[in-house]
Amino acid sequence: MLAYVAKRVGMVIPTFIGITLLAFSLIHMIPGNAVEALSGERGMSPERYQQLSHQLGLDRPLRTQYFDYVGHLLHGDFGRSINTHDGVLQEFLTLFPATVELALCALALALLLGLPAGMLAAVKRNSVLDYSVMGVSLTGYSMPIFWWALLLIQLFSVTLGWTPVSGRIDIAFDFPAPTGFMLIDAWMSGEDGAVASALWHLILPAIALGTIPLAVIARMTRSAMLEVLREDYVRTARAKGLSWFSVVCVHALRNALIPVITVIGLQVGTLLTGAILTETIFSWPGIGKWLVEAIHRRDYPVVQGGILMSATIVIVVNLAVDLLYGVVNPRIRHNS
């Protein structure tokens, strides 16, 4: 097991180095020059240019600059936002809980609906139910979620007036946010109706963001389940006299979950992509909205840091899933 872990972690290191190279070269590849991009100043005098260039370390050889960059990263220095002059890492860490909260709720929704839907479709194969589940999930999979979010707002916020259109909580509430997770903070504040307000703000973005993972999980669960239901041990369990329900929910589901776990790991990328769109539409103060605004403002240090951090999250989660997979399935860690 230790050798397997070492091998998997070792494979990630070149990818990490590559990501830092990519983020580093981003600044040098954008049109114009790096001094303007990193300082956000335009049309500066030659003296000012010299001064800034020296200050930012851009007058040194590229290789030195890269090692400096990595050195700064290792000390938690991701540069400063041109717009707010705050540290990029600090901004990221402030906004990140909002995105995590949204993504976790979206994923929970996808699992709660996707797993049973996929199981039912597999058990009732080729029935109307199966076709409906598969049809709906293919539609969900093909959905432009920015449009889906607009439709949800149109129906639930504008026409029915059930949910708010944007933000994380009603502005009437004002309490400290020690965790950054609005649901937890609202609960800890003990104010009347705070949790309900946070929940109402969360529900539409979570549906919009959870739609694609939901479709993927339902499809994957169905096909994994169909595969497992053909196995001998399922027949054995039935022959022992166990009820169909307990065979499906205990014997089959546990084995069908293995490929589903991998797919859930792969959804991290989908969730981050979706967060960019969902947060922009619902004015959700997370890293997706932050990145889009940074692009529009040409706040390149933020773009650079945001890309680096997002990629790191994807890599770490996928590594964790791989390791988990090795724990669940001994065949994997011995073969590879």
Partner: protein, 297 residues
Amino acid sequence: MNRPAAPGPQAAPSPLVELWHYFSRNRGAVFGLFTVLLLFFLALFADWIAPHSAIEQYRQSALAPPAWQDGGSRQFLLGTDAVGRDILSRLIHGARLSLFIGLVSVSLSLSLGIVLGLLAGFLRGWVEFAIMRLMDIMLALPSLLLAIAVVAILGPGLINAMYAIAVVMLPHYVRLMRASVITELSKDYVAASRIAGAGTLRLMFDTVLPNCTAPLIVQATLGFSSAILDAAALGFLGLGAQPPTPEWGSMLASALEFIMSAWWVVTFPGLAILISVLAFNLMGDGLRDALDPKLKS
């Protein structure tokens, strides 16, 4: 044409006939195929089919509702947008853009992916290591984020969005190609060809490549749907096609402010995206099932 029925059981049907046989059993896939054909038809003849120009502004009838609603007119079947442009005509011209984006980015990505995949599969060693690690890095970035990074470098615009999408899709083709090449290289016909004196280039493009096409066709079809979706997302964020280009995603960019007043401005462009993406996905799924020998029993 009027050939007599082939004698004996040994005459196999041509591969295309066989493909159609399996493909046409899947009703969803056939529906997808016909929708795709319709989209191509609309795209090709957009200038003749569209009732109005895509960018002409009929200021007097701004935000006119669809024809069947009160206040709608036959002149604008699906209504008009905030500056009085005919939505139906913009959608039809948008089909041309979406398919063009799909065609260009898939072709770019596919051809580069084939070459890199062949190199990785044939040369192995450090070439393979370098190519595959680079692909790992690209896969580590969420698709839209990678596209945004490329757009940040190249600047917003339709053409740059196509490059960005091509870059995003590249790792999938490279991985697929490399895996197929490695499988094929262990087969006897490759060894036979090599013994017969075929050079590496000939082995790559003439011997091995034709036997790897099935998964590539499926992936390319599915690539169309993700290209259309990503282009629309970039357009929606203001990083893709710029106004007044009738791109479906950028048509939705300003839709949020009309969500209370003019539902048709919000509804139709998204529906166009959904239908096209769904059609390519259905067709791709159908092709995969039809081409996968495991499913033919």
